[in-house]
């Protein structure tokens, strides 16, 4: 329970800060989050403002990252695009946890029973549909857009978290403190909520970082093929699709959004690696 509380948290924090992966990763991620937040109040130019006479200019003092084929400022587009990518990936992860974790916990609580079977089978079923196929199904009926991208990626996240929480919960159900709670008469629901959930939260957080970075990649891919965020909202994936023909003329238009994606994903992954090392030092031996 939360007696694990304060002392542990301090310990966790200092351990995190001493993990090189975590520090580097968190810094990179923080930079992009800040950029995304900053874009709400300020961008060097309007992200949609066209200036055709100045199209395809390389990075300069006026346009730090150059301009695209319509003269739009690349830096401004990257900033607003960060907003989109992060928002989509974040909400999709949220969807996955909020729906998936309870399902996994329920399955573990009723292990071997009918509910467990159903949940596990449904998980397997969703795994047969890669995120892009889910997106295809949804957009075929409802049309493309950021919201549908979130739903598609989110649906794919649900079985990931369900399977993870089920696995983690199962091992916890065997532990003494849980046995004690059962003996004292607590029901499975309360046990799951008060005892199991807090103890699997670390695992969930680590997985969340992985799914978040996968979400960024998935959103970019969907925007690239035209199924995700629609213009005029800037998105990194759409920037890459537009840049494809310009790549010989003005490589920066293709390099910048790609690097933005790589760096963000890298940052989040490093952060997740660092967190994993912190939460479970035992694993560190084989990772290290």
């Amino acid at each position: 329970m939360s007696e694990i509380g304060f002392a542990r948290r301090d310990h966790v924090l200092s351990a995190a800060l001493s993990s090189r992966s975590f520090v580097i990763g968190a810094t990179i991620t923080a930079v992009f989050v800040l950029i995304a937040l900053l874009s709400f109040v300020w961008t060097p130019f309007g992200a949609a403002a066209q200036d055709i006479p100045n199209k395809l200019k390389p990075p300069s003092a006026a346009h730090w990252l150059g301009t695209d084929h319509f003269g739009r400022d690349t830096l401004s587009m990257i900033m607003v695009g960060a907003r989109t990518s992060i928002a989509v990936a974040l909400v999709a992860v949220g969807l996955g946890i909020v729906v998936g974790a309870p399902l996994g916990l329920a399955a573990a609580a009723r292990r071997g029973g009918f509910i467990d079977e159903i949940i596990m089978r449904s998980n397997d079923l969703v795994f047969a549909f890669p995120a892009i196929l889910i997106a295809i199904l949804i957009t075929a009926v409802f049309g493309p857009g950021a919201v549908n991208a979130i739903i598609a990626i989110g649906i794919f996240n649900i079985p990931v978290f369900a399977r993870l929480s089920r696995g983690a919960a199962l091992s916890l159900w065997q532990r003494e403190f849980v046995m004690a709670a059962r003996v004292s008469g607590k029901g499975a629901f309360r046990i799951s909520l008060e005892h199991i959930l807090p103890n699997i939260s670390n695992t969930l957080i680590v997985q969340a970082t992985i799914q978040f970075s996968l979400g960024i990649l998935a959103e970019a891919a969907l925007a690239y093929v035209g199924l995700g965020t629609q213009p005029p909202t800037p998105s990194w994936g759409k920037m890459l699709a537009d840049a494809q023909t310009m790549i010989t003329l003005a490589p920066h238009v293709a390099l910048v959004p790609g690097l933005a994606i790589v760096l963000t994903v890298l940052g989040v992954n490093l952060m997740g690696d660092g967190l994993r090392d912190v939460f479970d030092p035992q694993l560190r031996r084989s990772r290290g």
Partner: protein, 519 residues
């Protein structure tokens, strides 16, 4: 260790496959033509799409007359003709010894069949109006055809050169969509949907045989892919290169030749004149002033294209320069919108897959937003564009399609359209008459304009015709029927050793009859 062996193996395989690429013989007799738009079917008499003519015109199918590369009309299957004094009777003398690709002979009966079916019941011909004046067609003898018109038509010989009037055989007409059978210097060989169409030399062609033994049309819509295909030699020529931004790459490469020519393609921002608020001429004028044409040409076409102020090619002697009427003046737009009493209108802009539309559309959408017009961009494929979503009139109530074909507008009720704005390039030559059609998607009904066009159709005197066509241009410019953007340029990139491709596009076609390789 094991890893290096694996790497070596992969590298070895790669080297081998590169080395095994076929090398070409000295004088080539085949050509690979890159095209952008795939035609839905291959029958030019049943399709509106220019993409059909790009494959079959002059190659597989021929008409009584045809377009030469400079836009003039030359004899085709008819070697000569006479026109009666009153302009109502045309007598065509056909070439002898012409056969269709299936071996059957082509004679006056086939001409009669082809021309009569254009306006027959159930015909899907896209240009019925052009031949509506035909009252009767008579096969005087196997090599002579007499056509009688119901009223004089100064454009008749010209119109017969269009792909919609090619001569087909009754035995094969029904299947021309999938297996085109014509009289041309090439026969249809194979079609791979989504990929390519192959044609081969017609060994028994009645006229000058083609220099090539075979040709393949490869469909590559993607601009990067087009660039890469040319550079890698996967195609030899792109008559309409879809990536004008990369032309400079080819201009500096001696292996290639860049040919910039003109087309008959007026690229316009079409407005639905019957749908509020676009039914108010002030609103349409406001939209016209919000557009900066040069920015569109530069941003979408990388400078290729000539801004126009009305619906007529600027290279034509009869062109009237009315661009100042709709000059770039966003302040004036705002004033006009206020005068019209329209505040923050919301309009949809449907964009077909052509680069001039997709890119031009994004630019124009921003320009319209800058004057307070909210624009929702809707990207559609050509199939959607050619449906009641944009181009076609809505089917009349009670209409049923045949089988699984959706019902079509059949003229039994007034034509209505549901789109707001769209961008498209009209590449048919001399087609200003479409503004006189009540069933055309402009939804523009002007008696004054219809009168001008009616007069033009029956006038033979060149000076008078010139005057009328200028009046027509002025009328539609003053009424701001559409936003007139620019004349599409024809940017062709070809292998420097290839000769004979058309520089301009007086009509939609990829005429391969004179194409050959020079080493």
């Amino acid at each position: 260790m094991r890893k290096s062996l694996v790497v070596l193996a992969i590298a070895g395989a790669l080297v081998m496959t590169t080395a095994l690429s076929p090398a070409y013989a000295q004088a080539r007799t085949d050509v690979k033509v890159g095209l952008v738009l795939e035609p839905p079917s291959l029958d030019p008499t049943a399709e509106a799409a220019a993409a059909v003519d790009e494959v079959v015109y002059a190659n597989i199918f021929e008409g009584l007359t045809r377009f030469a590369s400079d836009g003039s009309i030359v004899p085709g299957l008819a070697e000569s003709w006479e026109i009666s004094e009153d302009g109502l009777t045309y007598t065509f003398h056909l070439h002898g010894g012409v056969a269709f690709h299936d071996g059957t002979a082509m004679d006056a009966e086939d001409v009669k069949f082809s021309l009569e079916r254009i306006n027959a019941e159930g015909s899907l011909n896209a240009q019925k109006a052009l031949y509506a004046a035909i009252a009767s067609v008579e096969a005087v003898d196997p090599l002579t055809v007499r056509i009688t018109l119901s009223k004089p038509d100064g454009n008749f010989v010209y119109n017969l050169a269009w792909g919609d009037a090619v001569i087909v055989a009754p035995e094969t007409a029904a299947t021309n969509g999938t297996k085109p059978v014509g009289t041309g210097p090439f026969v249809f060989k194979e079609r791979r949907p989504g990929d390519s169409i192959e044609i081969a030399k017609n060994a028994t062609y009645w006229g000058t045989p083609a220099a090539l033994e075979s040709a393949t049309f490869r469909y590559i819509a993607d601009p990067t892919a087009a660039l890469a295909a040319l550079q890698a030699g996967d195609v030899d020529v792109f008559p309409n290169f879809p990536a004008p931004e990369t032309v400079s790459v080819f201009q500096s490469d001696p292996r290639f030749r860049v040919v910039v020519g003109t087309t008959q393609g007026e690229t316009i921002l079409t407005m639905n004149n019957s749908k509020p608020p676009l039914d108010n001429v002030k609103v349409r004028e406001a939209i016209a002033h919000a557009i900066d044409r040069q920015a569109v040409v530069d941003g979408a076409m990388f400078g290729f294209g000539i801004p126009i102020g009305t619906f007529w090619p600027p290279t034509h002697p009869d062109y009237v320069d009315l661009a100042a009427l709709s000059n770039y003046d966003p302040e004036k737009s705002k004033v006009l919108l206020a005068e019209a009493g329209v505040a923050n209108p919301k309009l949809t802009l449907h964009l077909p897959p052509a680069p001039y539309a997709r890119r031009g559309g994004e630019i124009i959408a921003e320009q319209l937003r800058a004057v307070g017009i909210e624009v929702e961009v809707i990207n559609v494929e050509w199939a959607q564009w050619l449906s009641p979503e944009v181009f076609r009139a809505a089917p009349c109530p009670g209409a049923v399609g045949e089988g699984d074909k959706p019902p079509a507008y059949d003229g039994s009720c007034p034509a209505t359209f549901s789109y707001d704005l769209t961008i498209v390039s009209h590449t048919e030559p001399n087609d200003i008459g479409i503004f006189a059609r009540d069933d055309y998607y402009f939804a523009y009904h002007s008696d004054a304009f219809k009168q001008i066009i009616a007069d033009y159709a029956v006038t033979a005197d060149p000076a008078k015709r010139s005057e009328l066509i200028k009046a027509a241009q002025t009328q539609i410019a003053n009424d701001f029927v559409a936003g007139y953007l620019f004349e599409l340029a024809k940017v062709g990139v070809e292998d420097a050793r290839l000769k004979g491709m058309w520089e301009n596009a007086p009509t939609q076609a990829t005429d391969l009859t004179a194409v050959h390789w020079e080493e």
